[in-house]
Amino acid sequence: MSLFALTGYGLCCAAVYHLFPKKLRYLVLLAASYGFYAANGLAGLPFILATTAATYLAALRIGAIAASLKGRLQGEGAQLTREEKRRLRAQAKSRQRAWLIAALALCFGLLAVLKYADDVLGWFGGSPLGLVLPLGISFYTFQSTGYLIDVYNGKYPPERHPLRYALFVSFFPQLIQGPIGRYDQLSEQLSQPHDFDWDGSERGVLLILWGLFKKMVIADRALPLVEQVFSAPMGAYGGAAALVAVLFYAVQQYTDFSGGIDLVAGIAELFGIRLAPNFKRPYFSVSLGDFWRRWHISLGSWMRDYVFYPFALTRPVTALSKAVKRVSAPLARALPAVLGNLLVFLLVGVWHGATANYIAWGLYNGVLLAISAALEPAYKAWNAKHARLSASKGFYVARVLRTFVIVNIGWFFDRCARAGDALRMMASVVTDFRPAQLAGGALLEMGVSAVDLRVLAVAVAALFAVSVLQERGVVLRDWVVRRPMLVRWFVLIGGVVCVLLLGVWGSGFNEAAFLYYQF
């Protein structure tokens, strides 16, 4: 589904949503979500239905076991010994765990088979099965399993209403590339009817336009250069081109992903629903850890809550930490974080693809974060010693630039097809960097025109300015919505015209799918 089709679909569904009686509105959303899913390929429907049913039923069973235990403890509690109570609890937990593991195995099993079967077969010389990855399978798998784990942990009771739960899993804006919603933040919003709110809708439309601007005007204009340079045989371009390409990729990657998230978040706002934020100006980060707290936030928090902490608190890690404490107490304190980061980023790398470059990219981030975690006491001590310097603007800018460089080194691994290519390209930036490689119109032979470059320069400058304002706490959409009607209309219509004229779209162009589409 094209960007405009998605936007148009969202607008139409929002109009229908607000025309329906309040009691039925969540059903409109459900129908719109499954309609959207079906329009993107009927073959994916059985998988989302299977995941929904598995997590719904497992959560119900886990809830029922908890309720049964609770009832028994309340009813017979006085007659039971402490040992018997502990045994009952352990039995219940064991049964709950069995349901949890069964459902997780089914959901992640489906994801793994569909996502990695061809890669694994390829390693062993087998023929690819040509399985089509259903739309949004990673996102709804993470979302529904997160819900299931929360129910298992007793964070909230299971959802009993199957249709409301199905809506939580399938809400169509988030199916494309997230964000990964949390049940306790999203379900209530989805189920409750929302009145039409003109200002809210304008805010939603502004966010949609901003998302389209990022995706169509910036990301898709930068894309040809990125593709051309990264797809060229090694040595075809010098180090200067490699540097330009990775910077373009940094811009393209961010604007593609965050633009898509803005678009779907804007569509959700048309229904009165706020999705979880997924980006918070990541290139303003002062450290790699900070970057990952601002980039793909919903995945990061999912990994933190359902992988990092559970892993860090496992008995082997705790035991190892205790063992290391005998050698070094600070290292022992940092060890769970070090190992947790390594595991999380290894998983994130594998999630991006079962190839060496992604694993290298994941490990690169994991190792750096592990080192950072291990050295954190030293950083703190240094900062305390040089408080004035570390609080200065110059130091802040230096940290931002340093983080940007570190992130871009990682992007080489992310974008190159092979880890070795990434290393060679990075090496060329150091060993074969000559500004003359970009002179004399050489840049214009990398897939972009002079018009593309001019538009990109202006658009990225606009993005930077808006980001600076956002960093300072200015919410531009709120500012616009408070203006007189004609000003607001001018901004809205101007935004539409700007996106239509400056954006890359239409059959004459290669309108690129979102980078995280069908992850």
Partner: protein, 498 residues
């Protein structure tokens, strides 16, 4: 309730404003080719008694304004470059939403094509873009683009439908190349005809037996039949025509088969490929294989005009006050375009000579005795071509005027290396040709006065009725002077020394 109503009105106002802005932006950035050709048609659609439909041959070969000048026929050429018969059919269907012509002249050159769309998606845009989005246009897009046709870039037309419905999808990136013409587009003053400037050597061809036919039926024939049936259903006369070009055997076999289609439906068919005395391919080709230049178009249009006048009940709108003022003003604009865009822009001897085969121009040609043009076969032929005209026989066949080489003294001058002066005067009732060889001075009676030439060395002086018009005109390498005179007023439109 009141609040709800206000919301609805507010939403409607915003939507209306947005649509207006988008329509304006679309109009601004669109390629103007289609609108340039079709806006005058849509503006005055009810006026046209004859419509010409077909591909680029029809565009280049049929000049409605010449038909107006000579025959008072109010016509419009709605043909478009690269049209297949299917696109022509749908262009005609869209045009008939606005116009009610008495006669539809259909160019049949493309009947041999067994596909709906050619590879040039831009040509399809040119044919359809200017028509407002209506049910007919939607049917056109859906019918034309429902298969697996691809354009020259390998894109499926089926994937491009959107940009035919809403052209912003195609042209939105043109904002960086807008010109003043995009802000103030100039519409054709030629009622759809376009004069091609250039003189090419025709490819070799041989006429085949008229009984040899194309064996298979094609998509082109299917749409040709649909066009005839649609016109007949609406009570519109149909004339099929295969305009002149050096046709290949296959093309001739296809055009032979059209004869039987015409017979089936009881409509006329003019196959110019066999009417081989209408144009002279050696002077009248714009390119070597198909399109006529302005000289050829003048001849074909002249022939068609007489044919339409003699065979169809078409009103002479010269006698209609409702037409006269506007069409004469349009004609003046068209004439100015011929002066400015064609004659004054093309500083090339062959093109200039070719363009002077035009009833709007009288011409004076002066050659020095040592002019290399005497040895240039093509230039000599183009010189003769200026003064050629048709005579028409009653059976519809045509023959050349009293001489294929009306400039008789030209050969004497060439043979003896003498100076040469000719006047082709179209200012009177009939064209009058006067030429002299060997004169350093000459005086010729013209419709606009007595024209006197004086040649001294390499310079020429020209006077009309004793009043000097040009003094010290210098001859160039070709040792030639060409004067284009407005045939009505005798004013010098352009004087070129070659």
């Amino acid at each position: 309730m009141k609040r709800k109503l206000r919301r609805v009105l507010r939403g409607a106002a915003f939507t209306a404003l947005l649509l207006c802005v988008l329509a304006g932006v679309t109009r601004l950035v669109e390629r103007k080719a289609s609108r340039t050709r079709m806006t005058p048609f849509l503006r005055d659609a009810a006026q046209f008694d004859v419509l010409f439909i077909g591909d680029s041959h029809v565009v280049n070969d049929v000049l409605p304004m010449e038909l107006w000048r000579d025959y008072g026929i109010a016509s419009y050429n709605i043909a478009s470059y690269g049209n297949t018969m299917a696109v022509s059919y749908w262009a005609m269907m869209n045009a008939l939403d606005y116009a009610t012509p008495k006669l539809m002249v259909i160019g049949t050159m493309d009947v041999e094509q067994n596909y709906k769309l050619s590879g040039s998606s831009s040509d399809v845009h040119t044919a359809l873009d200017a028509f407002p989005l209506t049910l007919t246009k939607a049917r056109a897009i859906e019918d034309l683009m429902n298969g697996y046709a691809v354009d020259d870039d390998g894109r499926y037309y089926a994937d491009m439908k959107g940009e035919y419905y809403f052209t912003l999808g195609k042209y939105h990136s043109r904002w960086s190349e807008l010109t003043p013409n995009d802000f103030h587009p100039a519409f054709t003053s030629a009622k759809g005809g376009e004069l091609a400037v250039g003189v090419a050597t025709p490819r070799d061809y041989e006429l085949i037996d008229e009984g040899l036919l194309m064996g298979e039926d094609t998509v082109g024939f299917d749409y040709l039949r649909r066009m005839i049936e649609e016109c007949q259903r609406r009570g519109i006369d149909v004339l099929l025509t295969n305009l002149p070009y050096p046709a290949t055997e296959t093309q001739q076999m296809a055009s032979n088969a059209v004869y039987y289609v015409a017979q089936d439906y009881g409509v006329d068919y003019l196959d110019f490929v066999y009417l081989d005395q209408v144009v002279d391919y050696r002077c009248d080709m714009y390119d070597s294989y198909s399109h006529l230049n302005a000289s050829g178009a003048q001849k074909v249009t002249d022939y068609l005009g007489r044919y339409l006048r003699d065979h169809y009940d078409l009103p002479d709108r010269h006698e209609d006050a409702a037409y006269l003022e506007q069409w004469n003003a349009d004609y003046a604009e068209y004439l100015q375009m011929k002066h400015d865009v064609l004659l004054r822009a093309w500083r090339n001897l062959n093109s200039t000579l070719m363009l002077l085969h035009d009833a709007d121009y009288s011409a004076c040609v002066v050659l020095a005795g040592d002019s290399p043009l005497y040895a240039d076969e093509r230039a000599m032929r183009l010189l003769q071509n200026i003064g050629r005209s048709h005579i028409f026989e009653e059976d519809g066949a045509s023959a050349w005027s009293d001489a294929l080489e009306p400039l008789g003294a030209l050969f004497d001058a060439a043979a003896d290396g003498l100076p040469y002066i000719a006047l082709i005067d179209r200012g009177g009732e009939r064209m009058r040709i006067a030429d002299r060889a060997g004169a350093g001075e000459a005086s010729i009676e013209a419709s606009f006065g007595r024209l006197a030439f004086t040649a001294q060395g390499g310079a020429l002086r020209i006077a009309v009725d004793g009043e000097e018009m040009l003094t010290e005109m210098q001859l160039g390498d070709q040792r030639a002077l060409v004067l284009a005179l407005d045939s009505a007023t005798g004013e010098v439109v352009e004087a070129l020394g070659f």
